[in-house]
């Protein structure tokens, strides 16, 4: 599963700069009618990451967010340029460690809530305050399956 995930990311990188903008090199013949319409290939990185300078990829190792579709081994994109709001999935700093949880405001109090009943919600200590490292914007989950052809 992880291997195919690599392939997926790699392919996003590998193919983008390669495709020629103008492919017509036929000395005699009719120019390709598509030449005037060739767009740049789709760049998934650009599409997904609005703020590349402040977006960091991380691999998730725990299962505390499984209910939000974030599985162990998944990649998440964390953007530091976004402000967390009620309901955001965030990377927070709790006792000097990073943790990925959903932020919830209840009666003026901030909670870090897991998406797995096995983990109790965590009240943010008022004296320490909430330290949000970044907001999780995407999860990249490999589905696996399929066999290479050819």
């Amino acid at each position: 599963m992880v291997a195919s995930l690599h392939d997926f990311i790699a392919s996003a990188h590998v193919f983008t700069p390669e495709l020629p903008l103008f492919g017509c090199a036929i000395p005699a013949g009719f120019p390709s009618p598509a030449d005037d319409h060739l767009d740049a290939p789709l760049d998934l990185t650009r599409h997904l990451f609005r703020h590349p300078a402040s977006t960091f990829l991380a691999r998730v190792s725990g299962d505390s967010m499984i209910g939000a579709g974030i599985h162990p081994g998944d990649l998440v994109a964390v953007d530091r340029a976004l402000r967390a709001a009620h309901g955001s999935i965030v990377v927070a700093v709790v006792e000097g460690e990073h943790t990925i949880k959903r932020l919830q405001m209840r009666a003026g109090h901030a909670w870090l809530v897991a998406e797995n009943p096995r983990y109790p919600p965590l009240a943010v200590d008022h004296s320490v305050g909430l330290v949000v490292w970044g907001v999780v914007t995407h999860v990249i989950h490999a589905l696996g399956g399929g066999q290479p052809t050819g």
Partner: protein
Amino acid sequence: MYALVDCNNFYVSCERVFAPQLEGRPVVVLSNNDGCLIARSDEAKALGLKMGEPYHLVRPLLEQHRVRVFSSNYGLYGDMSRRVVQVLSRFAVGVEVYSIDEAFLDFRGMGLLEKDLHAYGVRVRDTVKQHTGIPTCVGIAPTKTLAKLANKLARRLGTNGVTLFEHPDQWQQVLAQTPVEEIWGVGRRYAKKLYDLGICTGAALAAMPEHWMRRHLGGVVGQRLWRELHGQPCLEWNPAQWDDDDHLHPAASGRHSVACTRSFGRPQHDAAVLSEAVATFAAKAAEKLRKNGLAAHLVTVILGTSRFAAGPDPSTHTAVVSLPGASYDVSVLTQAALRGLHRLRRPGVAYCRAGVVFSGLETAGQKQLGLFAGTAPDQQRSQRLMATLDGLNAKFGRQLVRLAAAGAAKKPDGKPREPAWAGRSAHRSPLYTTVWDELWQLR
């Protein structure tokens, strides 16, 4: 106006972004090969640890105070530096990358857009911290030299990390309290000369007549310094260029050489190991050359023995090989470097460091055809080959495609192969942001 943005204890700050438990604790980063201290957190500075102190000497002190020690992780620091510059580029029309942790911003005309430059500086600082996690200080002044001074002050005052010099009396006051050697552009040699003449502070220096500076401090260099200290900008401005893919290309102008040098983990005398090291450095420097659109005429090979070894020989030996024509081709440059090594190496002598320096640089496109430099089709082939090589290495990273002379990148089992000359880096943190296998982990 110019702003100088300087990252605080940059290498330590990079480590802290991914290890928040290090906040408030003493942290140091070691040089290549775990030799000496090259970055210290404020807490480590407070313990009296000095820049450049040999690691093995301060080790007991580090252990006693439970100082967290890191080997340098340039992959991480380079990526974080790139991110900081990318954020900065939104705040000014031009950014000049001065070093891995410092950049100048072009604030000329900014006063028309922003009434309060100090507040704007605070915004720059807050945004860099928010977006990258890296704390900075900002100095804003009419010249680069004064911006540097303002930055130092901002760091020392530790208030909101921003200092603005708008009026001459503001910087004159600070110059009066600044030792002359702390002025940017005053080297150690000139500082000594100035002290001998009784000129000890920046203010005393600025008070000398312009023609005196011209005569005694290196001609036009001294004159420029005088003007800079009086608020008249006259240093060059070399902004970085961004390409269509948002990749940053630092200004190449003013560059006189491109180098790659390293200390070995252990002294090496084996010819094959030394060749592999020199070929590797040549390839790295050649890649840098091409990135900057340059070609080199001269290849210098450096071999260093231990500075502490007994014997009459100097510890650094160099050999220069000149090429028939300027080149950026890795095979041409590697061959030249290996020839230099062959000339230089003495059998049985153990070397601690090696390096390759390319000089006699010119812009790649304009290069003159040498008599033996090959015909135009040859050159076109070389150009295409190098473009393909750089493309592949950009994709797969870490010089995966290389000349055999530089040794294999991977072991037969596919794991990265550590060359015999590789330096010690016993305490390196993961390459959190640039290598898939070492990616930042979240629980």
